[in-house]
Point group: C3
Chain length 348, copies 3
C-alpha cells in the first residue's frame, strides 16, 4: 500500500542519458527515456503489439522504437508508426507524468492530476554540493521511513561512523505540521564521531574538539525524508552557529516503492561548505554509501520477520513517534485515494 498520486524519484537523471531504462515503480512496469527535446518520458513498459518490454528498444528521433518488431511509440503512449502497418487503431499504453529537476527524474504513478513538485532549495543553489547513490532493498518503504525518522539506530547500526551513545541519551522531539513530520535531537558538548571528524577536516576545522551536534529529520509525503545534520565547535551556537564554526549538511532520502516489499532507495548528502570541492564530495559519498549499506541486511531481515509474524503488534515508543506520525499521514493519503477511486468503481 502506497500513495500513487504523488511525485516519486524514478531515476537519477543520468540513468537515461544513454538508453531506455526499465524499472518497476509502485508495481507499475515503466520504461524511462529521453525524447527529441532531451526531456524525460515515462511509459508503460509494454509494447501494444506483442507485449515486449519497450525498455529493450532504442530511441530514434525522439520516439521509442520497440526492439522486437519496430513499433514506434510516441511520448504520449500512442503508437506513431510501424513498418507496413496502419497504427491508428492500436491501443494506447499508459503515459506517466514526469519532471526532471534537482538531478532526478520524478514520476507521478497515479491517475490523479499532478500537483506542483515540492521545492528543494539546496538542489538549485551554487552554495550547495550534492552526491548520492541508489540501493535496491527488499523491504516495505515504510520500514525505511521508520529507520530514517528514528536515528537512535545510528548508535547501533552505524557505531563506527556516525553512531555515538549520546544520541540515545538526548531527548527527541517530534511535531507534525499538516503533512510534514519533524523529529529533532540536539546534543551538546560531545565528541564528534569519525564521519563528522572527516567532515570537519574537509571544512578546514579542527576535528579533536568538543562539538554541538544536531539531527532534524523531516518527513514529507509520499516517502521523502530530509535530515539536517551537523556539528559546530562547542559553544559557538550549535545549529545556529556561524558557518565558519560548523560542518553541516542535509541527508537526502527519496524512497520509491518498487513493490509492496521492495524499494529503490535514492540516498545522498547535500552540503553547504566547500561546494566546489569534488574530491570532498566523492569522499563523503563513499563514506555515506558504506554507512547506508549497513542498514540493508537489518531492514531485509526485519521485513522477513514481520512477514512471518503479521499478527504481532510492534511497540510505538517515543523514539518511534517520527515513523508513527509519518505512517499516519501515509495512511490518510492512501485512504483519500481509495475514497476517490471507489465511487468510480461503483459507477463502472
Amino acid at each position: 500500500m502506497f500513495p500513487k498520486n504523488a511525485w516519486y524519484v524514478a531515476c537519477m537523471a543520468d540513468e537515461i542519458d544513454e538508453k531506455p531504462l526499465g524499472r518497476k515503480i509502485c508495481n507499475e512496469s515503466v520504461v524511462l527515456y529521453r525524447n527529441a527535446a532531451n526531456q524525460p518520458v515515462a511509459l508503460e513498459n509494454f509494447c501494444p503489439h506483442r507485449g515486449a518490454p519497450l525498455s529493450l528498444g532504442k530511441v530514434v528521433d525522439g520516439n521509442l522504437v520497440c526492439g522486437y518488431h519496430g513499433l514506434e511509440m510516441g511520448c504520449d503512449g500512442k503508437t506513431v508508426a510501424m513498418p507496413g502497418q496502419r497504427v491508428r487503431g492500436f491501443p494506447p499504453i499508459k503515459s506517466f507524468p514526469v519532471i526532471e529537476r534537482y538531478g532526478f527524474v520524478w514520476i507521478w504513478p497515479g491517475d490523479g492530476t499532478p500537483t506542483p513538485l515540492h521545492h528543494l532549495a539546496w538542489a538549485e543553489s551554487p552554495d550547495w554540493a550534492y552526491g548520492g547513490g541508489l540501493y535496491h532493498i527488499h523491504c516495505d518503504y515504510r520500514l525505511m521511513v521508520d529507520n530514517l525518522m528514528d536515528l537512535t539506530h545510528e548508535t547501533y547500526v552505524h557505531a563506527s561512523s556516525i553512531g555515538q551513545k549520546e544520541i540515545d541519551e538526548a531527548p527527541v522531539s517530534t511535531k507534525t505540521n499538516g503533512d510534514e513530520v519533524v523529529t529533532s535531537r540536539f546534543m551538546e558538548n560531545v565528541k564528534a564521531p569519525p564521519f563528522w571528524r572527516m567532515a570537519l577536516r574537509g571544512n578546514g576545522l579542527p576535528d579533536d574538539q568538543p562539538v554541538d551536534r544536531w539531527q532534524i529529520c523531516r518527513f514529507t509525503p509520499p516517502s521523502h525524508v530530509m535530515i539536517e545534520v551537523g556539528v559546530a565547535l562547542a559553544g559557538k551556537g550549535g545549529y545556529d552557529a556561524p558557518a565558519e564554526h560548523k560542518a553541516s549538511s542535509i541527508v537526502v532520502d527519496f524512497i520509491t516503492p518498487e513493490t509492496e516489499t521492495s524499494i529503490h532507495y535514492f540516498w545522498g548528502m547535500a552540503r553547504n561548505f566547500k561546494p566546489q570541492d569534488k574530491a570532498l564530495t566523492a569522499t563523503i559519498r563513499e563514506g555515506q554509501g558504506k554507512i547506508f549499506a549497513e542498514d540493508m541486511e537489518m531492514l531485509e531481515l526485519q521485513q522477513r520477520n514481520l512477514l512471518a509474524h503479521p499478527e504481532r503488534k510492534l511497540l510505538m515508543l517515543n523514539i518511534d513517534a517520527g515513523g508513527v506520525q509519518s505512517r499516519r499521514i501515509i495512511d490518510r493519503l492512501i485512504a483519500a485515494e481509495s475514497a476517490v477511486e471507489s465511487p468510480a468503481t461503483v459507477a463502472a
Copy 2:
C-alpha cells in the same frame, strides 16, 4: 498447454553418450540413456523403490541401475532386479516412446499411439551439413513459435548480423495447408547483411554485390519451425537460382516445452554448400549461436509482461499471421487430445 501426442526433440544424440540425462519435458520428469544395443530409452525419472531420480544412476549391461539402492530398471519401465529382493510386484514406471534419428533423440510424451516421425531430407543427405546447439529459455513455447514465424524481428533484435530494413518493407505472405503454416518473404536487389556476406565468402562467392534474399518459414506441429533462408547474386533467379550463384540454408528450430513457461530450444542450421567444410560449420554455428542468444532476454521479459497482464489482448497484424495460424493448429491439437481424454476420465 501443449500437445503431448507428438514427437519432440528430447536431446541431442551425444547428450546421452556418457551417462544418463535427467530432463523435464512437457512437465514430465524424464531420464534418457542408452541401452545395451546403444538405443535411446526414456523413462520416468522416478525410482519405484523410494522416488530417487534414476538420472543419478548408471547403466550396467544396458539396464539403468538406481544410484541410491541399486534397483535395476528395465527399458520398459519394469524393475528387472534388485539386490536381495523379489521384484515381480514392483509397480512399473512410465516408459516413453523414443526414436534416435537426424542426430537427435525424439520423445513422444503422450499416451496416444505414436505416428511415424516426419522426414528431414537434409539430415540424411551427404550434400548437407548441420551444426546447432541448445538454449534453455524461460518462456511459453508459443512465444518462440511467434518469434520464428515473424522474421521482421531480425531488423531489430539482430540488427548487426541478419537484420536489414528491407525485411520490414517486403510484403509477407502466409498460407496454411492442413497442419502446416508457411510464411514467406522475398527481397530483391538488396545488400547482404554481415551473416550472409560471411556465408557468401564461405561458398566462394563475392560478398559485395547486390543479392536477392528469401525467407520461407515453415511451421509443423507440435512446435517445429524450419526456415529456408538464403541469398543469390541479384538477377540470377533468387530462390530458384542455380547453386553456384547462391548461399542458402535451412534454419532448424525444434522447440520442446519444459513447463508452461520454459523451453528447451534446439536451434541449428543445415546448409547444402561446402558440406565437408567443418571449419565453416563451426563458424556458422558460432555466428548463429550469438544471434539466437539475442532473442532470449526479449522472450523472457515478454513472458513476464504477459504473465503480469493476462487480461491484455495483443495485436494480430499481417506480420503475425504465421504465429497466429500456427497457434490455431496447436489449439486444435490440444482440443483434440482433451476430447479423447475426457470420455476416459468420465468412465473412470
Copy 3:
C-alpha cells in the same frame, strides 16, 4: 511434521563463541548466544520493539543488545532495558530450553517440559575422539533418517569410499525396542573398502588383509542416528574382536529440521582408537565430509520427486525396515503431541 518436544542439536558449541547466531529450527526463528556465565541461550529471533532480528545484535554483559535501536534483552526473553525507555510493559519473547553438552548446543523447541538429555558415553570419554561438520540440505528430515537406516545405499552413492557389493548381499536385521530402532548387518571375510583401509592404517593395522565388517544403525527420537561401524582383521572376532585387531567408530548423525523440507545435518564420527591423533581426526573428518556430501544431490532431487508426486506410494522392502519403523515412532510422537495440544485449543 516433526516432534517439537524433543532435544535437537541447535548448533555446534563453537558456532556461538564469537557472536550471536540466527538459525531457523523446526520452523522457529531462533537466536543463539552465550550469556555472562558463558552458557548458551536461545530466544526468538524477533525484537519486541520493531521486529528486528536479534541475531544482528551483540552481547553486552551477558545480555543480547538489539543491533537496531539498543533494546537489551534478557536471557529469559524479557526486556531488561532500553535507552530512555521504561521497559516493564514490553511483551516478552519466547525463550527456549537449551543445554550445552557433548560439544553441541541442544534446543527444545516445543512447549512441553523438557526431559533429561540422553547420554552419549563416547562424547565424554578420553578414549574417544570426535570430528564432524554441518550440512544444510533441502529435504524432509525423514528422508535423511531413511538414508541412514538403510546402508545399502553405500554401495551406490559411496561406491569409491565405503561402498562394496557385499553390503547388498549381507542380510539385514531390524528390531524395535520401545523408541529405539536397531538395524544391523555383518559381513565376513571381505575386502576393506578405501575409507576403512585408511582407518586400518591410521590404527597401525595392515590394510591389505580380509576383514569382518559391521554396521549397526540405531535410531532414537526425534531424529538421531548413531551407527556403530568397523572392520576387524578376519577371524579375530568381528564386532567383538579385541581392540588391537580392529578399527571401529560411531557415525554420529543429528538431524535437525529447519522447515518441512530442509534440515541442518550435523554429521560426524567418534572413534576409540588413537583418540589423541589430531591429524587422523582431521583426515577422517575430511573423508567423511566428502562421503556425506555425495548424499546431498540424491536427497534433494528425491525430495523434489516426492513433492511432484505426493500420490505415489513408495515401496517398503526389508532393507527399508529401519526407516519404516523409525517413522512409526516419529508418527506416534507427533500424534501424542497433537493429542495434548488439541484440548487446549478447544478450551481456547
